[in-house]
Chain length 183, copies 2
DNA sequence: TTCGTTACCGAACGTATTGTTCGATTTTAT
DNA sequence: ATAAAATCGAACAATACGTTCGGTAACGAA
C-alpha cells in the first residue's frame, strides 16, 4: 500500500480514537475528524465511505488483530501446557487487553465502550463456538448447547466490563479466577 | 395534563417506536417522526428538547413501569409464597416481558435492542442491589460482593438476549430454570 | 533522473437536518 | 363565554453531509 495512504489512514484512525475518548460517536462530526487528522475533506471520503464505515474498519483491525494472535497463543499453549485449555484462553485475553495494544483498552473504557463491547462479544462468540469442546464438560446440567455458549460469552463480557469499570485493580490471574469460578 | 398534550405525546412515542423497529436510531430524523406522528415541527420541540431526550423519556416510561410493577409483584409474592424469593423475581420479569407491555419486547427485538438492553441492565442493577440479601447466599466462593452483583445482572441480560434472539420458544418457567442453573 | 500514475489538497457546491421563531388557529378548562 | 394554553405551518439561519474538480505533490518503476 502506498505510504501516503498508510499515513492518512493512521492519521484518521488516530484522530478518531482520540475523539472517541472525549464524546459520543453520534456527536463526532466528519469535520472534527479531518481537522484533528489534518487531512482534506475529499481525502477522508476517498478512504471511508462514511463515518459508520470508519468505525467498522477500525473495529475490524482491532479485533482481527486481537483474536488472530489469541488463536495462535491458544494453539501454542495447547502444545506446551497440559493445563486447563479454556482457562489459558481467557487468561491470555485478559493479559492481552491489559497491555492496551492498539488502544483497545482505551476504547473499551471510553464513553463509547458499548460500541466496542458489542464487537468484542461478536468475535468472542466465534472463538467460543470454535472451541466448544473445551467448555462442554463444564455444562453439568442439561442446558442447550447454544444457551451454554451464550452464557460463557456474556459472563466473560460482564467480567471484563466490571474489571474495567472498577479500575482494573485485579491482576489478569485473579480476574480469570473470578471468571472461572462463576462460569 | 392537557388532553392535547397527552395525545401528541402518545402520537410521537408511537411513531418513534414504529420507526425504531425499522431503522437505526441514528438514521431516524425528526422530520420522519413528526410526519409519522402527524404533528407540527414546533410541537415536537415543545415536547422534547431533542431526539435523544425523546429516547430517554421513552425509556423512562418503559422501565419505570416495568420495574415499579415488578417491585410490587415481588413484595406481594414474598408475602404469599415461601418459595425462593429471587427465582420469583426473575420469573415475573420474564413473564412480564412476554406480554410485550408498552411494546418493550418489540423494542428489545428491534435493530436498536442494544439501546434498550442497556437501560434494562441499568435498572436491573438497582433492583438486584436492593435485594442482595436474596442472592448473597448463592455466592459460594469468596468473590467480591460487587462482582457477584454484576454477574447476576449480566447473566440475566445474557439469558434474556438469548431467549429473544432464539424466538422465545421456551416458557418463562423454563428460561428461569436455565437462568437459575447457570447463576 | 525521468515519467506516468496515484494520492492529496482545498475550495466550492447542492442537499438535508436541525432547532428556533412568530403569528394565526384551535382546543381546553372553568 | 372567556382567558389560557397547545398546535399549526411556514419560514429562517446554522450546521453537517457527501460530491466535484482542477491544481499540486509524492510515489514507484524504468
Amino acid at each position: 500500500m502506498d505510504r501516503r495512504q498508510r499515513k492518512t489512514r493512521e492519521a484518521i484512525f488516530g484522530a478518531f480514537i482520540h475523539l472517541l475518548t472525549k464524546k459520543n460517536f453520534n456527536q463526532i462530526t466528519v469535520g472534527e475528524i479531518i481537522e484533528a487528522a489534518d487531512v482534506g475533506r475529499a481525502t477522508f471520503y476517498a478512504h471511508f465511505e462514511t463515518k459508520d464505515f470508519l468505525l467498522k474498519e477500525l473495529c475490524g483491525e482491532l479485533f482481527c488483530h486481537l483474536f488472530d494472535t489469541e488463536q495462535n497463543v491458544e494453539h501454542d499453549h495447547r502444545h506446551i501446557f497440559t493445563c486447563d485449555g479454556s482457562q489459558s484462553i481467557f487468561l491470555h485475553l485478559f493479559e492481552h487487553l491489559q497491555k492496551n495494544d492498539n488502544n483497545l483498552l482505551t476504547l473499551l473504557s471510553s464513553p463509547n465502550n458499548e460500541l466496542f463491547m458489542q464487537y468484542f462479544g461478536a468475535n468472542l462468540r466465534h472463538l467460543v463456538a470454535d472451541h466448544m469442546d473445551l467448555f462442554a464438560d463444564k455444562n453439568s446440567g442439561h442446558l442447550p448447547l447454544e444457551f451454554w455458549q451464550n452464557h460463557i460469552v456474556s459472563t466473560f463480557m460482564g467480567t471484563l466490563t466490571w474489571w474495567i469499570e472498577n479500575g482494573m485493580k485485579e491482576s489478569p490471574q485473579i480476574i480469570t479466577e473470578y471468571f472461572m469460578q462463576v462460569v
